[in-house]
């Protein structure tokens, strides 16, 4: 296999890992953010957490794998992005730590204050994570200051530009909606009715934000700066998001979930095709941009990693998919059946 083919393959693989992560952990983040607002009583909150209890950790591994794969396949991308977005990533890690530990610990003590504190940590941790990931990706699309040594020359405030912030807030909104749709599929009774109401309200705000982000991207010229034109993909992303509104109103939860999930997937497809073959655009000088060619590992390493990925990714997909099948039933706010 040619070097160029392998570099493209790994770009696609990393894109797939991020898509998987945003699709799966997207609803986990949404569920986490909704938790203290949706659950009025303890059993309700437990029911909400239990909808993602068996899967959130496995979903988060998509992020770890995306990180590890970027390190292995594009060391310069990993090095520049992770050191450049230092404080943002530090806050993301704090967010992920807080929510991860809270899922496990909140129900292990009966003190309502203990539980309430961990519930809020889940919500805040999920919010921080979604906001920062969205802002980071928006900044990747926009470009960041990178010098000729592939070094990021900005700071945290460089990332807090209007486009980055809009990207962050939009991501939060989309994940909230995605989470609400997921909960609509997994809950029963009063909680289900309540979450359907949330989804209705969220849909309007989310659509406005999403369209604004699209217009900003287009107007500011962040569009297709690589060699691929995303074409109708982003338009389809808008359409499915709008169609989701219809299904939400009709209480067709399955279809509503699929539409927003598609929106997330198509957004990521747009992002990755928009930048290709760049992986980090330099606003200092386009010649300093990191691309799949100047940021990648050697051909040998990419070959080895391709073989390993080809063997193990299908196995992982099979057993993770099987887990979702296994836990497909709705969760009731009945203490006997709750775990977390």
């Amino acid at each position: 296999m040619s070097y160029e083919f392998l570099q493209t393959l790994w770009f696609i693989l990393i894109a797939v890992l991020w898509i998987g992560f945003f699709f799966l952990e997207g609803f986990d983040f949404g569920v986490g953010m909704l938790l203290p607002f949706l659950g009025k009583r303890d059993t309700e909150r437990r029911a909400i957490i239990n909808t993602i209890g068996s899967v959130w950790d496995g979903n988060e591994v998509w992020l770890l794998t995306a990180g590890g794969a970027t390190f292995a396949a594009f060391p310069h991308w990993y090095a520049t992005m992770f050191s450049g977005f230092y404080l943002a990533l530090f806050l993301l890690l704090v967010g992920l730590i807080l929510r991860g530990i809270s899922f496990e610990y909140r129900s292990k003590d009966a003190n309502p204050e203990w539980r309430n504190r961990f519930d809020w940590m889940i919500a805040i941790g999920s919010f921080l994570s979604a906001l920062l990931l969205g802002a980071a990706f928006a900044n990747l699309a926009r470009g960041v200051p990178i010098n000729e040594k592939m070094m990021f020359t900005g700071n945290l405030f460089t990332l807090l530009n209007p486009y980055g912030l809009l990207g962050g807030v939009t991501t939060v909104a989309v994940f909230l909606l995605h989470g609400a749709n997921f909960l609509g599929l997994k809950l029963e009774g009063e909680l289900r009715t309540r979450v359907n109401g949330f989804a209705k309200k969220l849909w309007g705000v989310t659509s406005v934000l999403y369209i604004a982000l699209g217009i900003f991207t287009y107007a500011a010229g962040f569009w297709a700066r690589g060699i691929v034109n995303p074409g109708i993909v982003p338009i389809t992303a808008v359409v499915v998001l709008l169609v989701a509104g219809y299904f939400i109103n009709q209480k067709m939860e399955g279809w509503a979930f699929i539409m927003v999930a598609l929106n997330i997937v198509l957004t990521q497809v747009t992002f990755f095709s928009m930048t290709f073959p760049n992986v980090m655009l330099s606003t200092t000088n386009p010649a300093y941009s990191l691309t799949i060619y100047n940021a990648s590992s050697s051909q040998y390493t990419l070959t080895v990693m391709s073989i390993i990925a080809l063997i193990f990714v299908p196995i992982i997909l099979a057993y993770q998919g099987w887990t979702y099948y296994m836990f497909r039933k709705r969760i009731t706010a009945d203490k006997q059946t709750l775990v977390y």
Binding site: G53, G68, P75, L96, I101, N116
Partner: protein, 469 residues
Amino acid sequence: MDPITLSRLQFALTTVYHWLFVPLTLGMGWFVAFMQTRYYQTKDETWRKMSKFWGKLFLINFAIGVVTGIVQEFQFGMNWSEYSRYVGDIFGAPLAIEALLAFFLESTFLGIWVFGEGKVPEKVHLASIWLVAIGSNLSALWILLANGWMQHPVGFVINEANHRAELVNFFALVGNPKGWLFFWHTISDGLLMASFMILAVSGYHLARKQNVDFFKRSFAIASLVGLIASVLVFLGGHTMGQYMYETQPMKFASIEAHWETSQPAAFSILTIGDLTGKREVWSIRILRVLSFLACNNFNCEVKGVNELQQAEAQKFGPGDYIPLMVITYWGFRIMMTFGFMMILMTAYFVWANLRGDIAKAKWMKWLPWALVLPYLANASGWILTEMGRQPWIVYGLLKVQDAVSPNLTTLDLLISLIGYTAVYGSLAVAMVKLMRKYAIAGPDGADHESVDVESETGFGEVLPVGAQD
């Protein structure tokens, strides 16, 4: 403080902290899987309770290992970007493989194990805890192969055009004896750590005559496994020492405060250095033992720190190639002393258990304090192995000072260092509180998956007295 020192401090803090929880995860998974298998085979209720109770402590500990592990993977890029650029072609592979092979396995099946009881077939539920144990130990293998490469780099060439090291032989990386010796030492250490957790908690309950059968059985298993594991830890460590003598002679000499090359070499029982930690003032030594440790031969030559310093300066250019000896020397002695104490203790426990009723032993109430031994031995072992590599981040290839992210400021690092310290500190408080609570509550406390609060109470309202716990 300068960014390099702060980055090193942060790496040390986050890594040692992460490592406080990992060995227990590695070992306890096997115990729980074994207990659940025995229940599956015998349908003896005690086995079921055992797997639930020790499984609960496993989970409380596991959670911290998972969340602090994310930081571990990210901080190579965040704080050590030049390192990541220079060796990413090699070092990234085992990390990515660790995520693909191990993280997915352990996290997915942990979800099934925790949530699947009664929902999935019993066989699947049993298989899932085995897969969790296998997954977490596989993860240890890959990260130790990565670390083994930093200690003893193999299978690579320097690409002068790209200014970096590149992988040319994946099988050399995977077959690196350094990594496999680490793995041997680490998984047996995990079993030893878990044995001591079980012994300590069992001791607490046996001294109070609570659930005597349950804890006697736990004690018997843990003392036997602990004895075997502690001997394996020692043998692995001894073999590692000999390999270290061949591959990292400076680390070996610094661990022993062995200044001058000698044949045969004497083992230091106690060496007092000066305040720089790099000069000897006074020592007591046993003849020839160091030679034996280095090469199983009482008469071989062991190179001293001074000669090695000269040789390294000649090879790599002027500089200080001596690790901070006060840490490597004492780190080794703490690890080794506590390791031997654990061999003797578990041997005595096994013997005492065969001899009579262990529950009547007077020393039982002191047993919880024994937990200090594995925790301190683990921490000092890891510190000495990393500090012993200084000033190198990859031995002979890249120095720590050249590996740090050049864009980070002192302020960036102070924010993250203080932040991690605060978050990790609070996690430890919550974790210790829960561990204590569930350990003291005993098997009946763990039988309900989650304690329930008065569920109709809204948040923020005060519960009636006695409703808590």
